[in-house]
Subunit: 244 residues, 2 copies
């Protein structure tokens, strides 16, 4: 099936978790808002959320068009793609567990996003910088170690398969974890330098995913948007310093 | 199957979305942390997240024990229960759509929670009251209307079935929407008085769910914990006033 991904064209954001899964699957997909012309670009992205012709409009990007289905919410898209492309276990218990980990990672990403937007996504960073400093200190000191420690422990419990989060094969949540580790390194290089030594399994997973042939090819291609300060992970040195 | 729900015993919180689904399904379940004795209570709740005997420990409550499965993350639990108990469509497109709406509602609940905890869940409200006032003003003026308007529109698009969010039958996301509408009325009575007139379909859904026999019986029973200021929805009059 040829997929159509709809996401903001200039950031990795939440769309990146979907892009990584599509790339690792070797899927044929179009990144609609990054193309130009009729039925493409940001107007196409917005139109699908507003038109009366769509019975089930998504609340926000990313969303994926797969045949007649329009699927929204990052973790929901991954739950759809996973079993179709060998990126999730086939049996129910395994599928639920991968999805549960993905939702926990989504919660972490939401908290990371709010480091620079603790008051509202509708205000600029500079309008909430004071609150952002306070929130980021809490995230870096308490919340991030809680999440990272949890995922490190999940890997350890995976026993002899401890190279992956779940079972003996790569799943979509490994790809998402790669992205989070990469993002933390971009946004909080000072804090991340400590984490590299502390969460060895997660950082080994990051290194391993990065070297998979399809992911390596993707990262080197123009399809990979660079980290920048419009996405979820943003580089404000004053926030990194707030971690103490 | 006899289910075991694990959630904090003194609040509705995120466990309430699971409780409502189990009650409407007429399921036999035990609310483990509200019982006392060996293998029950809060110690049992915490133990399952920490013991080495569990291969796949949840990050946080609520979680559901169903036979040998331990399922965490509210929306994941509902996605598991829904098709088993007639609370979600059977075909894939419908199941994905209900889950997508549930995840969007989870995002909204996360933002509501952060009205009183914009800096950290690890600090008391009084330690972040100033930031809470500012965040709540944004939520009440912009974010809540955006979410509520979206769900009202989803109901309208459901056409002649506009009594429900999805299709011609009640699904778990209708139960969750009931809970959110009830919670907003508790936390923000002033703001909610306006919303009652504006989001007529959502408030009609709330009234309708409340009168379903099993839900009505549940709400009147001691199994329903009352709203209180330790949960997600909290009554701080100064925050309600922040909505202007």
């Amino acid at each position: 099936m040829k997929y159509e991904l709809y996401y903001w064209p200039t950031i990795q954001g939440r769309g990146e978790y979907v892009r990584l899964a599509l790339e690792e699957a070797g899927s044929s997909y179009r990144d609609i808002a990054r193309e130009s012309g009729r039925g493409r670009g940001v107007p196409a992205l917005l139109s699908m959320m507003r038109t009366r012709r769509v019975a089930r409009p998504p609340f926000a990007p990313p969303y994926l068009k797969a045949g007649r289905l329009i699927i929204g919410q990052t973790a929901n898209i991954l739950a759809f793609l996973g079993p179709r492309h060998g990126l999730a276990p086939r049996e129910e218990g395994g599928r639920l567990w991968v999805h549960q980990l993905q939702l926990t990672l989504s919660d972490f990403v939401g908290e990371i996003h709010d480091t620079h937007h603790p008051i509202s996504p509708d205000l600029y960073y500079r309008e909430q910088e004071k609150e952002a400093l306070r929130r980021t200190a809490e995230i870096l000191k308490r919340r991030a170690p809680k999440y990272l420690g949890y995922f490190e422990d999940v890997m350890a419990r995976n026993g002899r398969h401890a190279r992956y989060l779940v079972g003996a094969r790569l799943s979509y949540v490994d790809l998402s974890m790669f992205q989070v580790v990469a993002g933390l390194g971009f946004a909080f290089p000072r804090a991340a330098a400590k984490w590299t030594r502390r969460y060895k399994r997660l950082y080994a997973l990051h290194a391993q995913v990065q070297e998979r042939p399809r992911i390596a090819a993707y990262l080197a291609s123009p399809r990979r948007i660079a980290f920048n300060n419009d996405g979820v992970f943003r580089q404000y040195p004053e926030l990194d310093l707030a971690g103490g």
